[in-house]
Symmetry: C2
Subunit: 404 residues, 2 copies
């Protein structure tokens, strides 16, 4: 692993990156609901989006724009997702990128867009038109926190991270903000992760690095197994670090990739910890699967099981539910090969409660804010890990009255 230095601040810790967040009146609460990230220098861009077949208008427009591989701005709104809004929704999303482009002297194709909130309602465009000039005016090299706040929906805290890493002898900064939870297994409240870096990097290499980082971080967390129609992860790379440009196969690419993976993983864990109603962060490690793919399938089955997650909420050492979740998964499982450990305590062996298992100790570990469930399938060398939260009564309380 390359040496990584964590920095204060978030996305604006990156040289040449400004950000802002303002309240435009999209949210009835009057909280911030428009966010902007801007690179003062031209930047390469890469992004990955929800795989849901129902995609929001902003996702469709950003997919189009990111094909040009260059972008200098990301505009995001919260309170209304602009999903299931038909032609009008597309028109509105395009207009927002045009308005931001005009204000920042950029072609609209260099503006990415994202929105989160209730599905099926049109954006209040009059308020947004009035808000965008204020949003641009508010851009600041200390604006990360404001932008992080303006993308929140049911999040309880803004999420930011920044780090420095040496790439080909030059210090390179990566910063990001995020909201919501999940990606492959995400939350309808929508997951956003916006990243920026001053690394000089080819668009191809940036795209590959982003996909890989997302796959190992945001695609490994789960709150409820649902998948939003708006999930967006985007990165801008403005090259101000003046490192030797990172082409495919370049020597400096590896530390850059690892640093990008590290920061997205940190943001991903912040998302799980702030999952709706979540009180715990639980790492599920599956070893001994026939393949790495099966390890992931098995880990996800455990991480997404409502019965396992309610047991986590109650700190209940109900390991039988873990057995049940593994058994119903598409991964091969032989009960009499299976072992389960919670934290440092062995709990089950050969598919049975271990003789002398200390249930009181397990209960104590499960009472912690953070712990690991380690499962050994005893069948091969496949290993994977995912992160999940507990399923608390608070989750249901939050989600049973979301639109009303």
């Amino acid at each position: 692993m390359p040496e990584i230095q964590w920095l204060d601040g978030g996305i604006t810790a990156v040289p040449g990156i400004l950000a802002s967040g303002v309240a435009a009146g999209i949210k009835p609460s009057g909280k911030k609901d428009l966010a902007l990230i801007y690179s003062s220098a031209p930047a390469r861009a890469a992004a990955v989006f929800t795989t849901n077949q129902v995609k929001g208008a902003p996702v469709l427009v950003s997919q189009e724009h990111v094909r040009g591989r260059k972008a200098q701005a990301i505009v995001a709104s919260s309170g209304c997702s602009n999903v299931c809004t038909g032609e009008q929704g597309l028109k509105d999303a395009r207009e927002m990128t045009r308005l931001i482009g005009d204000l920042l002297h950029l072609p609209p194709q260099q503006v990415l867009i994202a929105a989160t909130g209730v599905i099926g309602q049109p954006l209040p465009m009059d308020r947004i038109r009035a808000g965008l000039p204020k949003l641009v005016k508010a851009l600041s090299p200390q604006g990360s926190r404001s932008a992080a706040e303006a993308i929140m929906t049911t999040d309880t805290v803004p999420k930011e991270a920044a780090l420095r890493v040496e790439v080909g002898g030059r210090p390179v900064t990566i910063g990001g903000i995020a909201k919501g939870v999940g990606m492959l297994e995400p939350h309808l409240a929508t997951m956003f992760c916006f990243l920026a870096t001053d690394a000089a990097i080819a668009a191809d290499a940036l795209h590959v690095a982003l996909r890989r980082a997302v796959d190992r971080s945001l695609n490994r967390v789960s709150v409820d197994g649902d998948q939003s129609t708006s999930d967006t992860v985007a990165v801008l790379a403005n090259g101000l670090a003046e490192n030797a440009p990172l082409e495919r196969g370049a020597r400096g690419l590896r530390p850059f990739r690892q640093a990008l993976e590290t920061i997205t993983q940190r943001l991903a864990l912040m998302l799980v910890q702030d999952g709706e109603g979540a009180t715990k962060l639980v790492e599920i490690v599956v070893r001994g699967a026939r393949t790495r793919r099966e390890a992931l399938v098995a880990a996800r089955a455990v991480a997404n099981s409502p019965l396992v997650k309610t047991a986590f909420a109650g700190a209940d050492p109900n390991w039988g539910r873990i057995m049940m979740a593994l058994g119903k998964s598409a991964a091969r499982v032989l009960p009499d090969r299976l072992a389960i450990r919670i934290g440092e305590e062995p709990l089950a062996e050969r598919g049975m409660l271990r003789g002398g298992a200390r249930l009181d100790r397990v209960r104590e570990i499960m009472g912690r804010r953070q712990y690991t469930v380690a499962i050994d399938l005893g069948l091969g060398r496949g290993e994977e890990r995912v992160w999940t939260s507990d399923l608390s009564e608070e989750y249901v309380r939050i989600n049973s009255k979301y639109t009303t």
Copy 2:
């Protein structure tokens, strides 16, 4: 459809069927925890079991016994599932079938066995050995209710049903008891459905009829998408109706099959209505899918989505979550072809909120104990339906402290 006459009582409404339920002390609460169903005449038997790779010892033993296609007794216990209990668990399950066989003068192979409750703990065999003679002594032609009570875990009401149907000019009775919820998408509290009939029917035909009935009833309900390690559906057919034996292809087979499907469906809906913390029974109908298979996949995605189910709990017309669940499913979905109706109220059309949609009316319908969500994918002729419950705070409360 054949003419069906609903009868009072449950499984003991069937001639020649006795049942009983007693408290043997498996449940710490002191409630009934041993159930027995007995056919005084020799009977054909068929059964289907959980597809979970982790199967309880009673499931393994019953799978073995039902291969002989004859059984006269089903013994079931609640409070301890005898799952993940290794060799000892198998020994205990076999001993129970032997003890019941001895008491009823049957070979143990003609006794089916099932157990539900906490996973990973050994059965308290001393209490069970003491309880089985009492259980046999309690057998009665009015014992259905007692047996239905003795298989309950988190169920709040016992479930029984019985009907009469004409088969080849003879009245045939089918009765059943059930507990827990689900089958393909079942509840860890385990789903049992025990049926009996006085029809004379070949073992093959009985097996096919049972599989089909289960597929169209218990396999169409969902509470939480989890799958128990103990789910068991079994039917005994003792031939006392003296109808012309129902062989494959016989004329009377069709009304028998339909009646079996009708009674299992009734029991299945009772299970959903009594799902843990459930306050509503929601039918999800998907039409216009490319295939029937895709209709089922799409309906299940909606029925199992925690975000959709919490919206049901809050009577919240958050149709965007239904769009989201459809979009993430493996069924083909084109948002602009999609229409959603709740009860009689059209809500979404061409993937958007319908102009003039009456949200107040939709909210009112969603406040009912029972309603239908009808989805038209607009792509083909595939149609399927599933039944689901809402996900309430009570579900979490019940499940976060189950073993403690």
